[in-house]
């Protein structure tokens, strides 16, 4: 792996680490979601520091170029991440619907009571 690519990966790992720490510090995500991002940053860091392991691994799996393996792993990871997000969003949509309904029912009830008085 060229030294340039390794530096780029190192840089990327560092940025990912800093962004994760920043949004965590600001309280924008709960700690449990940060684990994944720290883990990804760590993996990228390890690849840039000791590339021989991953090169051997990708040869073993039959990838022609090592970068294909990385892109492949990323793609699988992102697919699952998106699916997990869809599940989370759908759950929240349900909760929001429930809230809108209950608030609307309460509001109507209060208005009726006022009218009766």
């Amino acid at each position: 792996m060229s030294i340039n690519l390794r530096l780029l990966l190192l840089f990327f790992a560092l940025i990912l680490f800093l962004i994760t720490t920043y949004i965590l510090k600001k309280g924008r995500i709960p700690e449990k979601y940060s684990i994944l991002w720290y883990f990804i940053a760590l993996v990228i860091f390890l690849v840039s520091v000791i590339p021989n392991v991953i090169i051997k691994f990708s040869n073993h799996l039959g990838f022609e170029v090592m970068s294909n393996l990385i892109i492949g792993i990323m793609l699988v990871l992102l697919t699952f991440l998106t699916m997990a997000l869809t599940v989370i969003i759908s759950g929240q949509k349900k909760k929001i619907t429930l809230l809108i309904q209950e608030i609307s029912l309460l509001k109507a009830e209060i208005k009726n009571e006022k009218k009766e008085k």
């Binding site: 949509k93 619907t97 309904q101 209950e102 609307s104 509001k107």
Partner: protein, 241 residues
């Protein structure tokens, strides 16, 4: 003993029709001993639907945010459940449905012949208006998928003119699909071994407003509904009490 009957009228931008629809119910109540209560669920309309309801003393629940047809109708079922209604009737606010047929569709429920009834355009020949050819094909396909999943034949799968008993009011208050509620709930109800009866009714063409299903969404709708129904087929449901 007379049953407590609630007519749920979901309304989205129905300022032209809502008063007319409500007046037909009032007129019916004047002439008959079985009275109907009505509640309009205003799904955050941008027009004067809410204002017209308040000015004319029409009972209304204004949703604080737009929820779509499923969320709006479910609010009505929650209201029915909270206020201990025996029968809830779903009724469109756009003049498509005729209040005189409410009697027909709640009758089997009062006699406990069915847990749910569907006002159908496709059985008997009461209804002159039977919808466009494309729409009929869609309804037919849904009907076939439903038969595949539940073994029961329902003809008017997308009819929004329905009545349910107390058990189903509770079920609906707890869980109701947000999108494509009619075919999905019908299939779920059948899977739970409730009984459904289709009743011949006449429907009018829409007098105003826009249908909730737009043309360019039809293919998407069909794919969605087919997946939804097939999934219900492999899901397990507890039998009804």
């Amino acid at each position: 003993m007379k049953k407590k009957v609630l007519i749920i009228i979901p309304a989205y931008n129905e300022e032209e029709n809502i008063l007319k629809t409500y007046k037909t119910i009032l007129e019916y109540n004047k002439k008959n001993s079985q009275k109907y209560d009505a509640i309009v669920i205003n799904d955050c309309s941008q027009d004067n639907t809410s204002k017209i309801c308040r000015e004319n003393n029409i009972p209304v629940i204004d949703l604080v945010h737009n929820l779509g047809i499923g969320g709006a109708v479910q609010t009505g079922y929650k209201y029915a459940y909270n206020n201990n209604y025996d029968i809830a009737v779903q009724f469109d606010g756009d003049g498509q449905h005729d209040v005189d047929y409410v009697k027909n569709i709640i009758d089997p429920i009062i006699k406990e012949e069915a847990d749910m009834t569907i006002g159908s355009r496709f059985i008997g020949n009461k209804s002159v208006f039977k919808s466009s050819f494309a729409r009929r094909c869609g309804i037919k396909i849904i009907s076939i998928v439903m038969k595949l999943v539940t073994g029961k034949k329902i003809y008017d799968t997308t009819s929004g003119f329905r009545a349910v008993n107390k058990n189903i009011i509770k079920d609906f208050a707890i869980s109701y699909p947000i999108e494509y509620p009619e075919p999905i709930t019908t299939t779920e109800i059948l899977k739970k071994k409730y009984t459904i009866k289709e009743i011949a009714v006449s429907m009018n063409e829409r007098e105003g407003g826009v249908s909730s299903i737009r043309t360019w969404k039809k293919a998407y709708y069909m794919i969605n509904i087919t997946i939804a129904l097939l999934i219900i087929g492999i899901r397990r449901y507890k039998k009804c009490p």
